[in-house]
Subunit: 382 residues, 2 copies
């Protein structure tokens, strides 16, 4: 046994361009494997901070020639471009031109537009393999970086048809070295997927939440867990999301257009029901029922815990006092009942000093758990 | 001190018509106050079950004359109609006609349509006060009833202008006796409020979830916490929701129409951005940014824990092993750090035997909690 070093047992020279949250976190993650990336950024402050945090060695400032800082920097085998998306294509093209043997990847959250730009520039696409680690934080910048940012998260690797298989393999090893689970999709598939699982849910959540603005205090006070869940991501940053949605405009628009057509159908059906109060309007009810049933079918496709197939859990609802330690006591009692908790959600009553813990467990565990908790003095909630 | 009896210190005769989940739970809740409601339903089985569960005394089967069962039943002071919404107006009108002194309420989840029907029938509206307890369960029927179903939940009382103030007071006392927090809204305000905080979020969640159906296994595997939250309610029953949305068609359509117009704006902006890749299209970006910012503003109006004003919490993310007792140990450590947990959310990594607990605490508690958890050996997560 030798100490594992590098991403494939041999050491490789990695260059990280862009030392924000993602670039610095990649550096920190790769350092754990024995690699020592060279770091570059437009900002000397940012790259120095990333170096001080332990993400790698200083390279020349981005936009300056190799060696212009007086250093002699190794020629990279792999270049990871982690700059803001708007400058990513030109930085990738520069790297492909400057290092004719290097494999170049980027980590931008849209892939089709970047590939189109590179093709337009005539970049050598055999050595470019775009990718997208699906991890982030509310905070940005090197200071928020963590070596485990990618642990257990999907990292989508998006080779174009022109990419060399060996280069794709190198990029996948980088992703795995960071702790990610690799998913391979074409750039088009990637953009359509993130439109459906991330960008469109964001737009929908924002539009639903905006409807609450005009409500009276009492009316908005009726908000329950449902609207809280639907609108949780509506608290996201408008500047960031304008960039993300603009970058994936075509794919987002395609999904939103289908959604809008379905919505028009529902609006039409509701209108028909208003008109014909004493009629059956069976067609209208069928449109609404189909819309809800379509949601059932789509929801059932979301993978369950740990990426496993979706499972239906049973829910045991328990009244929990609003004191430190109450929830800990509940979970200790669940553990003593030898039931594994699959999920937990807290729901707070209106104006009352307690909440309800909704404990998800395997269906067969519901009755034993209810009995065990009642025996330990917990109050179950309807 | 005397034992409290009834809903206002005097005993009252309460009649509950409809012994499903809500009617039976009201009976169970009122029994705790010393009242002994008379129960009626179309189904003898359902009313007998409710009686056996302790919700009150048997009355005549619904649709049969008083005394036709051989019993002598007290004339009710208060009638609670908890039948399915489609027969609610006629049951309310019958009750108003049969008992000329009684106050009559109903618990249907829409209020405007029922009032319109009663007005059309020429019912004596001074004695009718519609209401809507905002509580429910996944399961239905008397067997799922609980005396604490309404505990800490909003119960909207919706008097029309014609309603006597004293009658409104009686209905509010019933709601409070069941443990609810009373909110008073006009029927129109109620229907607009539930459209915005419940019915429209359901439609949006279903339409977003339906877009996942066509995705490949790998693409849907990229689903993160955002889409899980947005689509959680999309698992709801199509039959039930077709009834709910149909019953509140006008109010739901009004909100959905505004949402559709906003959505059209976003779709148009995305289209403009696709067309002019090298243009600025600043108007288009502004439309998108405004849509997200509108969501921020609406989201900020949702009340926080215990109905208090919204608070921004700080989040501490902790890696938690997938073993019984791990989460209990974490919460015990949070308790020992003397930090009160405001909310907790579990996020599961893809294909990994651990999850991440996102612990919400007051902003000032973030740093002390992080230090305390690191000192106790917990790994924080990015």
């Amino acid at each position: 046994m030798t100490t594992p070093s590098g991403i494939d047992g041999t050491s490789r020279e990695v260059r990280i361009i862009g030392t924000g949250l993602i670039g610095t976190s990649i550096g920190l993650a790769l350092r754990r494997t024995g690699l020592d990336p060279v770091l570059q950024d437009q900002s000397v402050t940012a790259m120095t901070l990333a170096r001080d945090l332990g993400a790698g060695r200083l390279g020349p400032r981005l936009g300056h020639d190799e060696g212009s800082d007086g250093g002699a920097h190794p020629t990279p085998d792999v270049v990871v471009v982690a700059t803001p998306p708007d400058i990513t294509p030109s930085v990738v093209a520069d790297a492909l031109a400057r290092w004719p043997e290097a494999t170049v990847t980027d980590v931008a959250s849209v892939k089709g537009v970047i590939l189109d730009d590179l093709r337009r520039m005539g970049a050598p696409l055999a050595r470019y393999v775009g990718s997208h680690p699906m991890a982030g934080r509310e905070r940005s910048g090197a200071i928020a970086a963590r070596p485990d940012l990618f642990e257990g998260r999907a990292w989508v690797v998006c080779p174009d048809d022109d990419a060399d298989a060996g280069r794709v393999d190198v990029v996948e090893r980088i992703a795995r070295a960071c702790g990610s689970v690799v998913t391979r999709l074409t750039p088009g598939e990637h953009d359509a997927a993130v439109a459906a699982v991330s960008h469109v849910p964001q737009v929908a959540a924002s539009l639903v939440a905006a409807r609450l603005e005009a409500l009276s205090e009492q009316a908005v006070g009726l908000s329950g867990q449902g609207v809280r869940d639907v609108t949780r991501v509506a608290a996201s940053d408008p500047g960031l999301w304008t960039q993300i949605l603009s970058g994936n405009a075509a794919s987002v628009r395609a999904v939103l257009t289908v959604l809008r057509d379905e919505l028009d159908g529902v609006i039409g059906a509701l209108h028909a029901l208003e008109q014909g109060i004493d009629e059956d309007a069976p067609g209208a009810r069928a449109v609404i029922a189909r819309a809800i049933a379509g949601g059932n079918a789509g929801h059932a496709r979301i993978p369950g815990k740990h990426g496993a197939a979706p499972t239906s859990y049973g829910v045991v609802s328990v009244v929990v006092g609003d004191r430190p330690g109450e929830l800990a006591r509940l979970l200790a009692d669940i553990g003593e009942a030898e039931v594994n908790l699959e999920d937990l959600r807290l729901d707070h009553g209106l104006g009352l000093p307690f909440g309800v813990a909704e404990v998800s467990v395997l269906p067969a565990s519901v009755s034993p758990l209810e009995e065990a908790l009642l025996a330990r003095g917990w109050q179950l909630h309807g």
